[in-house]
Symmetry: C2
Subunit: 164 residues, 2 copies
DNA sequence: AATACTATATTCGAGTTCGAATATTATGCG
DNA sequence: CGCATAATATTCGAACTCGAATATAGTATT
């Protein structure tokens, strides 16, 4: 199917159902897959995967947070976060203080090494993120941001005005 | 960290860095995670996962396509598609015609059962996708669609200004 | 105090995803 | 024809992801 002489030729990314006429859910998936892939390949030298980058960023922003806090922040399940955090502990980027005064809660924080690696990752990610806004005005970017937040909130929040 | 009296209280989805002021890459990830989760949970009764739904939709749109074609269409790697297709073959939603005239290429198509299940899935997905556009005008939605296509294309296409 | 409920953390099994590597087939070039 | 190159399909190892289930700890109710 490499040559266009074939009957079932697939469209390029911007064309047909893969272009602006496609389903919004499909376009969202396609955009995310592409950006995730670019991110993952840009981070390969740091040894950090992109879920690990997300978790490390959150631990850095909310030091002392728990596994369950991370799950809420990332919209992932507690099981998923457990795996990511345990991998980060193993390589020494994250450490846990097992005994706050109360609870069996593990308070998480970055190690010095983790902070160093995170700084490198952030520089790489910043470059990739800049590309996401080229070709769009400030007003257009604001629309996109509002849409993304709305899609993330789903029905739970911010849809409460449109009762039925 | 359940009560707001705690020092490190995490913001809700629409607030702070999780709102419209956050990084575009983070917002994209957040939106995708949330939509994927809603989709996965809505499809649970059909027995189809959301990557399986995506692959079945493509096989239905391009019958006779190969594993490598699916990889290009979905922006996934050939290894990933191999696993998904083999799971779909196992449950009998997809079948492969192993011997076209040329090549070792496997021509894929949906079984009758696969087509039936896909029809049910599409009805479910259509409802979820409608929610993605409520609260946005046609012009705003067009901006969002253009941005998503642009993010999917990355640098390869559509940054080249025009056609060849 | 005993019980019920909630939250937290973890384990298990299955599906998804990638990079690396391998085997096989087609094509192009000498 | 013979060989290099490319494309296709697959296997392997590792990480991510979820639902279900389990164990533990804190809170509330009776």
């Amino acid at each position: 199917m490499r040559k266009p002489e074939d009957a079932t030729s697939a469209p390029e990314v911007g064309e047909g159902k893969r272009g602006e006429d496609g389903h919004l859910g499909y376009l969202l998936r396609q955009a995310n897959v592409a950006f995730r892939l670019r991110l993952e390949r840009a981070l390969v030298d740091t040894g950090v995967t992109h879920p690990q980058f997300a978790v490390m960023t959150m631990v850095d922003a909310y030091p002392g947070c728990s596994n369950a806090d991370l799950a809420r922040l990332s919209l992932l399940t507690a099981q998923t976060v457990t795996v990511i955090v345990s991998n980060l502990k193993r390589v020494g980027f994250v450490e846990a203080e097992p005994h706050p005064v109360h609870g069996r809660i593990q308070q998480l924080s970055l190690t010095d090494q983790g902070r160093r690696v995170l700084r490198d990752c952030k520089a790489i990610v910043r470059r990739l993120e800049r590309d996401l806004s080229v070709g769009f005005s400030a007003q257009e970017e604001a629309v996109v941001r509002r849409w993304l937040v709305c899609a993330a909130a789903g029905d739970q929040t911010s849809r409460k005005t449109v009762r039925r």
